[in-house]
Subunit: 101 residues, 2 copies
């Protein structure tokens, strides 16, 4: 076990798409790129079947808050609500332990 | 904002499948069913493309630990390592905040 484990944060974004997906793929790609450029960004994983799950990892709650308020991200969030998603849920989590195979 | 938010726990399971998937689908279904029957289980979401992401939600670290040690789940974990996954990562997280659209 790694006794030097440094807690960090995960944002679990779970979503259901609507039927109006025009512009979605481009925006998703842009937002992924932009997120990667933010201070405190640590990584991101995504998959989608019936529902989509995107988990992004951050060094602090402050970095998450700044990304949430990023002007271009705010535009994307607005379009997400009005166009692309019929439902979504966001969970802010502290990663306390981790192991890998 | 909900001032009565009760923290709970998320297990983020990220995985890459191997090329030997015989028996995987049945076991995945069995494990999902079995997880749902465990004390403290709150919910589960899954999606898979290049990678798979399964997030399960639990009321406490104790419930997560018990599920990890469940005898049938141990068999599944072993088969996962020897057969179905080329890689996986498990993160135990405390859900601190949540919002929905």
């Amino acid at each position: 076990m790694n006794t030097e484990f440094q807690p960090y944060y995960a944002v679990i974004f779970t979503s259901k798409q609507s039927n109006t997906l025009e512009g979605y793929a481009e925006m998703a790609q842009q937002m992924e790129q932009l997120a990667k450029e933010q201070p405190g960004f640590l990584g991101m994983d995504s998959a989608r079947n019936d529902i989509g799950i995107t988990v992004s990892y951050w060094d602090s709650l402050d970095s998450i808050q700044k990304w949430k308020q990023h002007s271009e991200h705010l535009v994307a969030q607005r379009k997400g609500k009005t166009h692309w998603y019929s439902w979504y849920n966001v969970k802010i989590c502290k990663v306390e332990r981790e192991y890998e195979f």
